[in-house]
Symmetry: C2
Subunit: 260 residues, 2 copies
C-alpha cells in the first residue's frame, strides 16, 4: 500500500494523525494551512512540502485529509480541484455528505481522542471510525486505518454525531469540572496537585466497571446534610453554587429513574 497524502489543516488532530501515518510508512507530500507558519512547522516534522495557498495544493496525492475547523470548509475546499482523488475529513459532527460538493470520492476518518500538540499519545489504542461513499473507498480507508490503530470500525455520519456528543460529555465537560474543582481549591490556597490521584482513579474505575455502578458521593445517596454544607460553603460564588446544585439534582434524578 503506497498511498500518498496531503494534509489540509495543521492543527492538533492533523499533527497527530499525519505523524502517525508517516511512522507507519505512508508518505505525506504536503501540508496546507491558512497560517503559513503552522503548515511549515508540521511539514518539517513530516519531510513534506507546505503551502498556505489552496491553489498550490499538489495534484498527485492519493488521499486528501481535511482537518479544518468546520466553519472554514467551504471557503478552503471550494478553491481546490480534487479530481477523482479520495477526500476525507476528520470531524465528528460533520456528515460525510458535506464533501459531495467538492469531490467524487469521499470519506471520513475519525480518531476518537483529545489531542494536544505537545503530548505524545499511543495512537494504536485510539478507536478510529471510518465511513466512505463506496465499498471500494471504505476498503481503502479500513486498510489505512488498520495500519495506524488496533481499533477500527465503520460508522455512519448519524452515529458519529452521537459519538461526538458523548465525547463532549466525557472529555470537554469532564475537564470543565476539573477546572471548577481547581477553582474551589484555589479559594483556600490548596494546590491542584492533591486531586490528581483522585482524578486518575475516577477515570480508571470506569475502565473496568460501568459508570453507573461507579457513581459515589453525596448526591447519589441523597445526603442532604453534606449537600447543604457544600452549598452553604459555596455562597461566595453563586455560579459555582448553582452548578453544584444542578449537577447534584441531575445525579439524584438520574439514579432515581434508573432504579425505578
Amino acid at each position: 500500500m503506497s498511498h500518498r497524502f496531503v494534509f489540509i489543516g495543521a492543527g492538533n488532530l492533523a499533527t497527530h494523525l499525519s505523524i502517525r501515518l508517516k511512522q507507519q510508512g505512508f508518505e505525506i507530500l504536503q501540508v496546507y494551512s491558512r497560517t503559513e507558519n503552522s503548515a511549515k512547522v508540521l511539514a518539517e516534522k513530516l519531510d513534506a512540502d507546505f503551502t498556505n495557498s489552496p491553489g498550490n495544493i499538489l495534484k498527485n496525492a492519493d488521499v486528501y485529509v481535511v482537518a479544518l475547523k468546520d466553519s472554514v470548509y467551504n471557503e478552503v475546499l471550494s478553491q481546490i480541484d480534487f479530481g477523482n482523488k479520495l477526500v476525507v475529513h476528520c470531524s465528528g459532527s460533520m456528515t460525510m455528505s458535506v464533501l459531495k460538493n467538492f469531490a467524487e470520492n469521499t470519506g471520513v476518518i475519525y480518531p476518537l481522542q483529545t489531542f494536544s500538540k505537545k503530548r505524545e499519545i499511543n495512537f494504536a489504542e485510539i478507536p478510529v471510525f471510518v465511513e466512505a461513499n463506496s465499498k471500494k473507498n471504505e476498503e481503502k480507508l479500513i486498510e489505512i486505518a488498520r495500519k495506524i490503530s488496533d481499533s477500527v470500525s465503520v460508522m455512519d455520519s448519524e452515529k458519529r454525531l452521537f459519538l461526538h456528543i458523548a465525547a463532549v460529555f466525557a472529555c470537554n465537560f469532564v475537564n470543565h469540572f476539573y477546572v471548577r474543582a481547581s477553582e474551589v481549591l484555589a479559594k483556600k490556597n490548596i494546590p491542584f496537585e492533591v486531586l490528581k490521584p483522585l482524578i486518575l482513579e475516577t477515570a480508571q474505575k470506569v475502565q473496568e466497571s460501568n459508570p453507573e455502578t461507579a457513581q459515589t458521593g453525596p448526591a447519589v445517596r441523597f445526603d442532604e446534610n453534606v449537600i447543604n454544607k457544600h452549598l452553604k460553603a459555596l455562597d461566595y460564588d453563586l455560579n459555582a453554587r448553582e452548578l453544584y446544585n444542578s449537577i447534584s439534582k441531575s445525579i439524584f434524578e438520574f439514579h432515581k429513574k434508573s432504579n425505578e
Copy 2:
C-alpha cells in the same frame, strides 16, 4: 509504634484504610458495624473481632477510627465510652469538633480518594490529611499517616470542607458525565468501550498541565455550529439537552472571564 485500632464502620473507606494499616504493621482489634455481616466480612480480612453492638466495643485500643455515614454519628457514638482514647473520623465535610461530645482526644484522618471495596488501590499515593485537637495527638496522627501514605498534610476542618467540595466536582460530578456519555452512546447502540481511551487521556492530561490549559471542545471555542447540531440531536432527551446547554454556557462564560 504499636497502636491498636478499633474500626467503627465497615464500608469502602473503612475497608481500605484498615487493610492498609494492618499491612503496615498496625493491629486492628475489632470492627464494629450496625450490619453484623459487614463487620464480620471485614474483621475476617483483618484477623480481628467483630460486633454489631456499640456496648461490646473493646476498651483496650489506642485509636478508634469512626468511618460512619455522617447521619448516624450521634446514634452510634453516644453509646460508646471512649475514656481518654484518641477518636478520629474520616469525613471530608464534618468538622473535627463533632467528636467533642464523645471524646477528649479527637482528630481526623482523611484520605482523599474514591474507594470501592473490590478495587485494589495504591494507598501510598493517596494524599492523607490529618487534624487533631492537640499537638500531641497531631504528632501521633502524622506518624500513623506517614506509615500508610507518602503524602501527609495537616489541614483544618474549614479547608477540608473545600477539599471535599473540590473532590465532589472532580470525581462524583465527573463520573456523572461518564454516565451521561454512556447514555448518549446507548441511544445509538454504541458500546461504552469506545470512550475509555478518551476518558483516561482526559484525566492523564491534567496530571501534567493545568485543567484550564487542557480545555478543548466546541464550548471553549464557542463553535455555535457544532453546539447547535448537538443540541438538535439531543432533542429526544430534554434533560440531557438542558445539561449540555448549561455546561457549554458555563465553560464559555468561565473562559471568557479568565481571558478578560
